[in-house]
Amino acid sequence: MSSTALLDKSDPPAAGAPPEDRKPRRNFTPWVLLLPGLLWLILFFLVPILTSVSASVQTGNFDDGFKLTWHWANYVDAVKPYWRQYLHSGIFSVATTVLCLALGYPVAYFIAFKGGKWKSLLMALVIVPSFTSFLIRTIAWKTILADNGFVVRILNDLYILKITSKLGITVGTHVLASPGAVVCGMVYNFLPFMILPLYTSLEKIDPRLLEAGNDLYCGTFQTWRRITLPLSMPGVIGGTLLTFIPAIGDYINAQLLGNANTGVVGQSIENLFLRKTDGYPVGSAMSVIMMVGTLVLVMMYIRKAGTEDLI
């Protein structure tokens, strides 16, 4: 930033010269090249968002039609009865992001620095499960964590479920149909989105920098904290965003692995959308709240983390 500003100041003639030399003629090529992308964005991004925002202040139902009445009270109806769902969405997505980071960082670190010739294979192993449908993978957990399956039996024998149930992570002597199961499912599903950007940024680090750290009497931990971590921050931020944003909107894990006390916003929107003839306005209001809320959170996070790489 500062360097370009400096350039601008020091070389005004260089920057201003070309327009004088050339006749200012219109060049349409960039616009033509941009056109497909712009059309796509307008049609599949801008229009739906505007429709959604507009629907959120309408009133009506299928039978009488929906009219734009600027009925802002929809937003009250979209929050008041559903505050629990917002809370769940928030807690689950934050917990998922934190756990993904805690699990993903060591994995990415190991593959990047110790992977050697196995690097590509190991990364493939991270990605390959995503070749199966998201739904199928989530449903598979229902079988793995079944009440009379061996996983749950072992957890019970070790009294682990007693502790987690006291903490409110699981319910009773089972894992399925609990907040814990929902977060486990989400962590499993989103982990590759954390590992990939982390790996990319860790892999780029010049090992000579680490050697230099050692030469300068930094311990392993110090080297990591002062060299590796700062250099991998773009990966950390990219990974957390790639995990958090889909996680906060995800409702499949809550639907399949949760119970009636783990409802998230997506489930309520789906219900309003599919099973109510007058559900569009409130459902749209909920979507708008989620979009704006996520955007604000993400902006704050990026500000705080301060990476120019991303914006």
């Binding site: 079944a146 149909a177 009636a260 099973r275």
Partner: protein
């Protein structure tokens, strides 16, 4: 019955171990579920609503119980929207071959587009309502909907009166069936299946037998192992029975009590989940020990330690799913011919033998006894007098009440 195709798919994976018929059904659900599930995930659930092909009716037509032009004579077909696994199949290897339907086509030359696209009454209603309200053909000639929904469709004049000249077998309907509170005389709806909602439990996990509905909501040893239905009518009616109220005749106050009863069972952790059509998968895997169940479903699994309570102390619920013809159906006469076909005792017996529901046609029980004495001996298919006396329907609600109760119930169960 919520959650559309996700649950379909869920049912598939968990039910693959089911025996015979159940396995066949699951395979069918897979194909459908996978396709539809993909859509749902892409956030394009709405697209499925566009699968309806509308034929624009002449201008000036209104959505008030009107017939469109009947193309039955020139187009030898019927389009039939119904629920998964609600008809006979030839065998596991040919799950999409339905002998009764084929026989009908052979007799009459009428092709049947048999579409298993309904997973949830309310879900389906929101799909067809935009067409019906505009006075446009929904693309379906016959739809199978639950009793309380028939009332809703009828209130809005969305259904066509049946032409009994095309349905001489209408006379076969049992007198008790004709005495329907929603559609007296059955001029708009023909029952497809009658059934009960009761309790089923796993004797491996539940040592003391369950005899009443109240035990399900309160017994400490069932804590966290109970699953209830996510459709308001079913679960609220159960709660009303447990509290000693009559689901056919209750007050607002009693509804509130019942809702509170359900909410308490949920917040205390007694209830593990509210499920739709997929309740059997968790029950069969032993994840739930007690569940609300539709009559023949559990018996159909053929697992001896999963037992159904024929008659809980407080009574049981009865319901029906019905065939109706929506306004402007393109092949009304063909549809009526088909309904007429299924009202023959022998055909009804063949069907009920397969889907395990209560016959509603005179002579079907006798035909069933001849066809399959074992099925006919099950009280959930041929109920005893005592069961009939203690079976309750659900009170007829106004649209406003229905909507209010449904949304309050859905909020209570975390939707």
């Amino acid at each position: 019955m919520k959650g559309l195709s996700l649950e379909d798919l869920a049912r598939f994976t968990n039910r693959t171990r089911a025996r015979s018929t159940a396995a066949a059904m699951s395979r069918r659900s897979l194909l459908r579920g996978a396709a539809a599930g993909g859509l749902a995930v892409a956030g394009a659930g709405a697209l499925s609503a566009c699968g309806v092909q509308g034929h624009v009716v002449p201008a000036g037509a209104k959505a008030t119980g009107q017939a469109g032009k009947d193309y039955s004579a020139t187009e030898k077909k019927v389009v039939w929207a119904t629920w998964p696994a609600y008809i006979d199949i030839q065998d596991d290897k040919h799950p999409s071959v339905h002998p009764t339907l084929n026989a009908f086509t052979k007799q009459t030359g009428i092709q049947v587009d048999y579409l298993e696209i309904i997973n949830d009454n309310n879900d389906f209603y929101t799909k067809v309502d935009p067409y019906l309200v505009k006075g446009i053909d929904t693309g379906y000639d016959v739809m199978v909907v639950s009793d309380y929904m028939v009332a809703k469709y009828m209130t809005y004049d969305y259904l066509q009166e049946l032409d009994l000249a095309n349905i001489p077998n209408h006379a076969n309907l049992l007198p008790s069936v004709l005495k329907d509170p929603v559609d007296p005389g059955r001029r708009f709806s023909i029952p497809w299946a009658y059934g009960f909602t009761t309790i089923a439990y796993n004797t491996k996990l539940v040592k003391t037998p369950i005899t009443s509905i109240a035990e399900v909501f309160t017994r400490a040893d069932l804590h966290g192992k109970v699953s209830l239905f996510s459709e308001m009518e079913d679960t609220v009616a159960m709660a009303l029975l447990a509290l000693g109220h009559n689901p056919e005749q209750f007050t607002d106050q009693q509804f509130n009590e019942a809702l509170e009863y359900v909410r308490k069972a949920l917040s205390s952790g007694q209830v593990r989940a509210f499920t739709g059509n997929d309740y059997l998968s968790d029950f069969q895997n032993g994840n739930t020990a007690v569940t609300m169940a539709y009559s023949g479903d559990v018996a159909q699994l053929g697992v001896d330690y999963l037992v159904t309570l024929n008659l809980p102390k407080e009574g049981l619920l009865s319901w029906s799913d019905n065939c109706v013809i929506p306004n402007f159906a393109r092949h009304k006469t063909n549809a009526e011919k088909m309904l007429n076909y299924y009202l023959q005792p022998e055909v009804a017996a063949e069907l009920d033998d397969y889907i395990d529901y209560v016959p509603s046609v005179e002579g079907a029980v006798a035909a069933l006894q001849k066809l399959d004495p074992e099925t006919a001996s099950s009280p959930l298919i041929v109920p005893t007098k005592q069961m009939e006396a203690n079976a309750h329907g659900f009170m007829k609600l106004t649209i406003a009440q229905l909507d209010d109760y449904t949304s309050r119930f859905q909020q209570a169960i975390g939707q």
